[in-house]
C-alpha cells in the first residue's frame, strides 16, 4: 500500500480555502471493519485528519463544531470508481457539480468519472480541463479516467502516457467494449509503460446485438431481444486470458452474470491481477422488474435472473467481487419516458447506494454490514488510492449514518440533475446525514443540518 495516493490528491473545490474548524462527532458508533473497530467514541476531526477517537463524553476542543451523534453510526466514507458525470456534452443529464453533490449525499468521499462524454476524454488537454473544472465545482474529490482508444472507437490507442501525465487516474472505454483482442493486447502491453489501471466494460456486441434486457424467461414473455449472460462472460474470459499472457492487471466493471463471477474467480485462481465491481442494482434487483416495462430498469449490463443476483452476492461475500460501484448513469426524463427498447441505458445510483444495499441485503441478514462497508470503500485500491479508514492521523473520510432512519427514495428530489433511479419511491432504511471528504464537510442532510445548527 506504500505507493497508494491519498483521496485528497484528487481534484475538488474543498482543496482550496481556509481550514475548517474542528469537528467532533459526539458519542457515535464507530465501525470500520478494515481497522477492526466497532465501539462508541467521540471522533475528533482536526486539520483534515482524524485527530483522535476519544472516550465518549470527553471535553471537545474549544471552538469545535459539536455534533450530537448518539445513536448514529460513523463509517469510513465510500469510494465509487465508476460514475458518469456527463461533462462535457451531456450537461442536461448531469455535470461535475450536480454529480459530485449526489456522491456527497450518498456518503461518497471520492468518485472516478468515466470518459464516455461528448467528445470523449481522449486527449491530455481534455483531461486537464476536466481537472480544472473539478477544482472549481466538485463537491467531493473527483478523478477522471481517459479513453483507452481514440474516440472510444476501439481501433487506435490514445496517448496513454501523455494522458497519465495530465492526471488521468486510469483508462476505460466504458459504455463501449474493446472488441478487438489485438487492440486490447496492445493497451495492456503499453500499460507497463504508463502504470495506470485499465477498466473494462465486458460485452461481446455480436452476442448482445439488438438486445435491451437480460435474455431469459422474462424477455421471452415480453418479446424483447436479450443480452445473453455469455455476451459478458465470454469477453471476461478472453480478456483475462490476454491479461494473463501479458502479465497485466485489469479491472472488470459492473459484473452482472453468474458466469462472469465464475470467469473472474477462475482468473483470480490462476494468479491474474484482476479486480472487479458489482452495482447496488445488480445486487438487489432482477429482470422481474422489467415486467413493468418501466425504462427506469433499463441499464447495460441488464438486471439478470435471481440466480445471477445470488451469484453476485456470493461473489461479493467471498471477495471474488472486490467492490461495489454504482455506475451512476444519469439521463433526462424525456430520454426515459419512451418505450423500454427505445430508452437510454443507465440508472443513477450514488444517492441510494448504501441505503439500497443496507435495506435489501444487510437488514435481512444476507450480508454482514462489515462486508458491505469494506466493499463500498475498496473501489479506491484498484486505482491506486488509499481506501478510507477510521484511525488516528488518517485523512478524515467519514460518513455519518442513521441506520434506523427510514426514507422514501426520491421524495425530496435528487441532488443529481436526473431522476432515473430504479429505487425511486422505495422505502429505504439507513440515511446518510453527513459526509466528510478529505477532511472537510462535503454534505449535510437538510433536516439533520437544521437540527444541529
Amino acid at each position: 500500500m506504500a505507493d497508494m495516493r491519498p483521496i485528497s490528491s484528487l481534484d475538488w473545490r474543498g482543496s482550496q480555502g481556509e481550514p475548517e474548524r474542528d469537528l467532533v462527532l459526539r458519542g457515535v458508533r464507530v465501525l470500520d471493519p478494515r481497522e477492526g473497530i466497532d465501539a462508541t467514541h467521540d471522533v475528533v476531526v482536526r486539520d483534515g485528519e482524524i485527530a483522535e477517537l476519544a472516550a465518549a463524553g470527553a471535553d471537545g476542543p474549544e471552538g469545535a463544531e459539536i455534533v450530537d451523534a448518539e445513536g448514529l453510526s460513523v463509517f469510513p466514507a465510500f469510494f465509487d470508481p465508476h460514475v458518469h458525470l456527463r461533462t462535457p456534452g451531456h450537461e442536461h443529464k448531469e455535470d461535475i457539480e450536480t454529480g459530485s453533490r449526489a456522491a456527497a449525499a450518498g456518503g461518497f468521499c471520492g468518485i472516478l468519472a468515466m470518459a464516455n462524454t461528448d467528445p470523449p476524454a481522449d486527449d491530455a488537454g481534455h483531461v486537464a480541463a476536466l481537472r480544472d473544472r473539478a477544482r472549481e465545482q466538485a463537491a467531493v474529490p473527483t478523478g477522471f479516467l481517459a479513453c483507452v482508444t481514440r474516440g472510444m472507437l476501439g481501433a487506435e490507442l490514445t496517448e496513454m502516457a501523455e494522458l497519465a501525465d495530465a492526471g488521468a487516474v486510469g483508462f476505460s472505454d466504458d459504455g463501449m467494449p474493446i472488441t478487438s483482442g489485438r487492440v486490447l493486447r496492445r493497451a495492456l502491453q503499453y500499460q507497463r509503460l504508463v502504470g495506470l489501471p485499465i477498466a473494462l466494460h465486458e460485452e461481446d456486441p455480436e452476442l448482445s446485438a439488438g438486445g435491451s434486457m437480460h435474455e431469459g424467461a422474462v424477455s421471452a414473455a415480453l418479446g424483447i431481444a436479450g443480452l445473453p449472460s455469455i455476451s459478458e462472460s465470454t469477453m471476461i474470459a478472453r480478456d483475462a486470458a490476454i491479461a494473463t499472457f501479458e502479465g497485466a492487471a485489469i479491472h472488470v466493471q459492473h459484473l452482472s452474470a453468474a458466469e462472469s463471477v465464475a470467469a473472474v474467480e477462475l482468473a483470480k485462481s490462476n494468479g491474474l491481477q484482476i479486480t472487479c465491481e458489482a452495482s447496488p442494482h445488480h445486487l438487489t434487483l432482477t429482470d422481474e422488474e422489467v415486467r413493468s416495462l418501466d425504462a427506469r430498469f433499463k441499464m447495460n449490463p441488464p438486471l439478470r435472473a435471481q440466480a445471477d443476483r445470488e451469484a453476485l452476492i456470493d461473489g461479493l461475500r467471498r471477495g471474488v467481487i472486490d467492490c461495489i460501484a454504482t455506475d451512476h448513469a444519469p439521463h433526462a426524463t424525456h430520454e426515459k419516458e419512451v418505450p423500454f427498447e427505445q430508452a437510454a441505458w443507465g440508472v443513477i445510483g450514488l444517492e441510494t447506494a448504501f441505503s439500497a444495499v443496507f435495506t435489501e441485503l444487510v437488514l435481512p441478514g444476507v450480508l454482514e454490514l462489515e462486508t458491505v462497508l469494506e466493499r463500498l470503500t475498496a473501489g479506491a485500491a484498484p486505482f491506486g488510492f488509499e481506501p478510507p479508514r477510521i484511525a488516528p492521523s488518517a485523512e478524515a473520510n467519514l460518513v455519518l449514518v442513521d441506520t434506523e432512519a427510514e426514507w422514501e427514495a426520491g421524495i425530496e428530489g435528487w441532488e443529481s440533475r436526473s431522476a432515473n433511479s430504479c429505487f425511486d419511491g422505495r422505502r429505504l432504511r439507513g440515511r446518510v446525514l453527513m459526509t466528510v471528504a478529505a477532511g472537510r464537510v462535503a454534505y449535510r442532510q437538510r433536516s439533520f443540518a437544521m437540527g444541529v445548527a
Binding site: E215, G216, A217, V218, S219, A220, A221, L222, G223, I224, A225, G226, P228, L293, H334, E337, V338, P339, F340, E341, Q342
Partner: protein
C-alpha cells in the same frame, strides 16, 4: 375492463365476456344497415406507427359500425415524421378528449406507457414483439365459433415464435381457455426460457404435428434469413411448411396474415377446407367491436381533457341481448 393492453392481464371470465359480446355483434353484420348506435358521440383515435392492413381497417370499421367518430393517424406523414415524441403526440391527441386510443407501435410497452399520458381507454393493437391481444381474442373467437370449446385441445403454433407478438398473445389466450399449446420452430427462432415464460411445450420439428387439433402457422419474414436465423427460406419451407401432406383432414389451420404463399403455407392448404384464415378476418371485425364496446361501457369516467361531464354523453344502447 379499463384498457386492453395484454392477454396476460386477462382471466378466463374477461375473455369469455368479450367472446359472448362478439357473438351478439355478429348479427349486426348480417343486417342491411350494418350499424348500431352503441357508441354514438364517442371519439376513437387510431394511431398506427407500423404498417397494417387488417388490424387498422378492422378497428376502424368496428368503431364505425358502433357509430363512433374515428380519427385514423398513420406515422408516415404525421408529426411523428417530424420527430415528435410519443408522449407529445398523445398529449396533442388527448386534447380532443377521445374516449379511446387504439395504438400500434414497433416497441414493447408503448400502449401501457400511453395509459399514463391520457385519460382515454387504450387498446394495444400490437406493441413491438410483445403482445397483440385483439388478434389472440379474434383467433379464440374463430375457434370457439367452429369447435365450441378449447378445453383439452392441442394447438401447435409453428414458425418464427421469437419475433412474433401473435405467438405470445395466442399462446397465453389459448392456454387460459384450456388448450395445450406447443410452440414449434427452428431452435434459432424459439426464445430461450419460453417454456417457463408461457407454460407451453416446445418442438423443433413437425414430427409430432399429427397430435395437434389446430395448427397455427406464423408469418416467416424473409429478412430473418439475412440475420442468420435460418440458412435459407427454401430450407425453412422444407422443414416447417404446412402443406396438404403434413396437415391431416381433421386438423384446422390458422394464420394471422398476411401469408407468404409457398413459405410457411403451401397454396393448397390456404384455400383448403381446413383453413380458417378468412374466418379469422371476419371474426376480427366483431371481436374488435366487442373490445371497443367493452372498454367504453365499463362505467368508468372518460374524456381526455377531464372537462367533459360523462353524463352528457348519450347512453350506449344495448344491442340484441348481450350476455
Amino acid at each position: 375492463m379499463r384498457h386492453l393492453l395484454a392477454i396476460e392481464d386477462l382471466d378466463r371470465d374477461d375473455i369469455e365476456r368479450i367472446m359472448s359480446r362478439a357473438s351478439s355483434f355478429a348479427e349486426v353484420g348480417r343486417r342491411d344497415i350494418k350499424k348500431v348506435p352503441a357508441l354514438r358521440g364517442r371519439t376513437i383515435v387510431s394511431l398506427f406507427y407500423e404498417s397494417s392492413t387488417r388490424t387498422s381497417s378492422s378497428f376502424e370499421l368496428a368503431a364505425k359500425r358502433l357509430s363512433a367518430d374515428v380519427v385514423s393517424i398513420k406515422a408516415a406523414g404525421s408529426a411523428v415524421d417530424k420527430g415528435e415524441s410519443l408522449k407529445d403526440t398523445i398529449a396533442t391527441l388527448s386534447a380532443y378528449a377521445p374516449e379511446a386510443i387504439v395504438i400500434r407501435h414497433p416497441y414493447a410497452g408503448a400502449a401501457k406507457l400511453v395509459t399514463a399520458w391520457t385519460s382515454a381507454a387504450v387498446v394495444n393493437a400490437g406493441d413491438g414483439k410483445h403482445e397483440h391481444p385483439s388478434q389472440a381474442l379474434l383467433d379464440t373467437y374463430t375457434l370457439l365459433d367452429r369447435i365450441g370449446s378449447l378445453e383439452g385441445k392441442r394447438i401447435w403454433i409453428v414458425g418464427d415464435v421469437l419475433h412474433s407478438r401473435v405467438a405470445r398473445s395466442c399462446a397465453m389466450c389459448f392456454r387460459t381457455m384450456g388448450a395445450e399449446v406447443t410452440l414449434c420452430g427452428p431452435p434459432t427462432l424459439i426464445p430461450r426460457g419460453v417454456t417457463e415464460a408461457l407454460g407451453t411445450d416446445v418442438a423443433h420439428d413437425l414430427g409430432r404435428l399429427g397430435e395437434a387439433d389446430i395448427v397455427y402457422a406464423l408469418r416467416m419474414q424473409k429478412e430473418r434469413m439475412n440475420e442468420s436465423f435460418v440458412p435459407s427460406i427454401r430450407e425453412y419451407a422444407t422443414h416447417y411448411q404446412i402443406d396438404s401432406r403434413r396437415l391431416a383432414p381433421r386438423q384446422l389451420l390458422m394464420h394471422p396474415g398476411p401469408v407468404n404463399r409457398g413459405v410457411e403455407l403451401s397454396p393448397e392448404v390456404i384455400d383448403g377446407p381446413a383453413s380458417l384464415i378468412t374466418a379469422q378476418v371476419e371474426s376480427g371485425l366483431v371481436v374488435r367491436m366487442a373490445i371497443l364496446y367493452e372498454i367504453l361501457t365499463s362505467g368508468e369516467p372518460r374524456g381526455g381533457s377531464g372537462r367533459r361531464d360523462d353524463a352528457e354523453l348519450p347512453a350506449p344502447t344495448p344491442i340484441g341481448e348481450p350476455a
